[in-house]
């Protein structure tokens, strides 16, 4: 698992992908921070809540080549014939993407430190924000990884993941237009933004933690199964 993690992490930074993703994160979080700062609003929570949409756009780019490129270049033959478990292949790739994602948010720590010169801060809320962001990113990366495992084409993987991101983003507004209470309730329950905003607002609810971890686990499991299935097809 460690070998694959290292290889994938490095691959992000020999191609422009890693730098582009980091740049997008830095630009937008920096913009929101300066906006927040100039309006005299001393809390990075604002940055985190605004970054929800950016995350949905950026994750497909992180995950699109994870599995599909291996298959296209037939490198999966060496991975699958080496004495490693399928799950450690998937997990190695998952954590590499998550690491790049986390790196994109490292700058919020700097924001927090800058703020700490001016006001006394509640670091627990900040930690809650970071955990919420990692959980959101983790579950989206798992979804993207699974979609990438289904296809040989990076583009198909990216578009597929992007479509799901859009759906997640629009779900709340879509649900409110439908007048059937069961659907609205279901949509509210699986609403990523609702659960994420609970974290961001400083409420650490275990059900939300379990929700995101479960989503990630389910899609990682499906990704392992899709590798396994390919051998029997």
């Amino acid at each position: 698992m460690l070998a694959i993690f290292k290889r994938e992490l490095k691959a992000y930074f020999v191609s422009p992908v890693g730098y582009v993703v980091l740049a997008v994160f830095l630009v937008f979080s920096g913009f929101y921070f300066s906006y927040m700062f100039s309006n005299g609003y001393p809390d990075v929570t604002f940055v985190f809540s605004q970054m929800f949409a950016i995350t949905l756009f950026i994750v497909p780019i992180l995950t699109m080549r994870l599995m599909s490129e291996d298959r296209r270049q037939k490198v999966d033959q060496v991975l699958l014939t080496s004495p490693v478990k399928l799950s450690s292949i998937i997990l190695g790739k998952f954590f590499a993407a998550l690491a790049v994602f986390a790196l994109g948010f490292a700058n919020t720590l700097i924001f927090q430190i800058i703020l700490s010169f001016y006001v006394s801060l509640n670091w627990l809320i900040f930690i809650g924000n970071v955990v919420g962001m990692l959980l959101l990113g983790g579950s989206l990366i798992a979804i993207g990884l699974f979609i990438s495992a289904l296809t040989e084409s990076q583009m198909v993987a990216a578009v597929g993941t992007f479509a799901i991101s859009m759906f997640i983003l629009m779900m709340d507004s879509l649900a409110s237009t439908i007048n059937i209470s069961a659907i609205t309730k279901a949509a509210e329950w699986i609403s990523f933004s609702g659960r994420y905003n609970t974290f961001v607002s400083g409420v650490f609810d275990y059900s939300n933690l379990i929700f995101f971890v479960s989503v990630a686990a389910i899609f990682l499991f499906l990704a392992v199964r899709s590798l396994e299935k390919k051998r029997w097809a």
Binding site: L2, I4, K10, Q73, D76, V78, T81, S82, V84
Partner: protein, 329 residues
């Protein structure tokens, strides 16, 4: 060492491998021979655990590839048809990655450098694989299979894309490795199999149709030695004369390759030696015999014959393009 029993692989209605069984002993070099699309690569992919068989078992050193995959895979080095390379890595990074991936317990850098020396890629050690030529990529692929010094090497067409000098080098390398490893290699180049392998398995349309040493195969099919003769003289008269010799079943003229002379193919009836008669009768007519040689069947011809024979009694079609019945007649 390698035990394969009743292996079949089905893709929908398409039977890619059909009931193949064989064993490979320790230290043996086995050649897989077959036309394109015969199922060689599929069998190799199953042996290495990349694909799962529909029916049948594969055991490497007693470990079943499906039941204890890690133990079995530890013992295999595999070079697939297309070398599985990460183009964005240097040769060094890639081989170190493979080393870590396979969790090898040998001293890392000496081991990797030893392999590079063996396959002669030291001079591209620090270059990106993306920028390497096909021949070098192929050799990095072989290097990758050697990492961890596995007992079994499975090489799918190891010399494809190499120049003649490199091909000879790789063959020598395989011969060298064969002293300490069990090797299965596939090829549709027959001379390669002939020079490297002790034993040959011929596969056609997913079926195992021959399993023997190269010499035995050659002996088995060359009972009927035909003769090639180059004779100076009038072709029609010579044809008549040769046909009248006792023990000759058919004679055909192959045309003229040298001035005033013709080449003939003489098929004797079984186990008859007609060479003396041919010489004496031609001498009586004063038609000089410029050359006479027996047609040893090369592996190439044997291969064509075996695959032809198996084509005749086939009862299924796996999608190969073949001439229609009319064209055969």
């Amino acid at each position: 060492m390698i035990e394969v029993t009743n292996l079949s692989k089905r893709y929908g209605n398409h039977l890619a491998v059909s009931d193949v069984s064989f064993t490979v002993k320790d230290g043996e070099i086995l050649g897989f021979l077959g036309p394109n699309g015969a199922g060689k690569s599929t069998i190799m992919n199953i042996l290495t655990g990349y694909l799962s068989p529909t029916v049948g078992t594969v055991k490497i050193d007693g470990f079943d590839i499906l039941e204890s995959p890690n133990e079995a895979k530890k013992r295999i080095g595999y070079l697939p048809e297309q070398p599985p390379l990460y183009l964005d890595m240097t040769v060094k990074e890639y081989l170190c990655f493979i080393y870590d991936l396979k969790k090898v317990n040998l001293p890392k850098h000496p081991h990797i450098f030893e392999i590079c020396r063996l396959v002669k890629i030291e001079d591209v050690y620090d270059r990106l694989i993306k920028n390497l030529s096909k021949g070098y990529r192929q050799r990095v692929g072989i290097a990758q299979a050697l990492v961890g010094n596995p007992d079994v090497l499975i090489l799918d067409e190891p010399t494809v894309g190499l120049d003649p000098k490199q091909i000879i080098e790789i063959r020598n390398l395989i011969n060298h490795l064969g002293k300490t490893h069990t090797i299965i290699l596939s090829s549709h180049i027959l001379s390669e199999i002939q020079t490297v392998c002790e034993r040959v398995i011929v596969i056609n349309k997913g079926k195992l149709i021959a399993d023997d040493t190269a010499e035995n195969l050659s002996k088995h099919f060359s009972k009927d030695h035909s003769l090639n003769a180059r004779i100076m003289g009038p072709s029609k008269d010579i044809l008549k004369l040769l046909s009248s010799i006792n023990g000759v079943s058919t004679v055909s003229c192959l045309g003229s390759k040298e001035k005033d002379s013709y080449d003939f193919n003489i098929e004797p009836v079984e186990s008859a030696d007609v060479r003396r008669d041919v010489f004496q009768r031609l001498a009586e007519h004063n038609w000089p015999l410029l050359g006479l040689n027996t047609n040893e069947l090369s592996l190439e011809q044997i291969f064509l014959r075996i695959t032809d024979e198996s084509d005749k009694d086939e009862d299924f079609d796996i999608g190969n393009i073949k001439p229609s019945k009319e064209a055969k007649k």
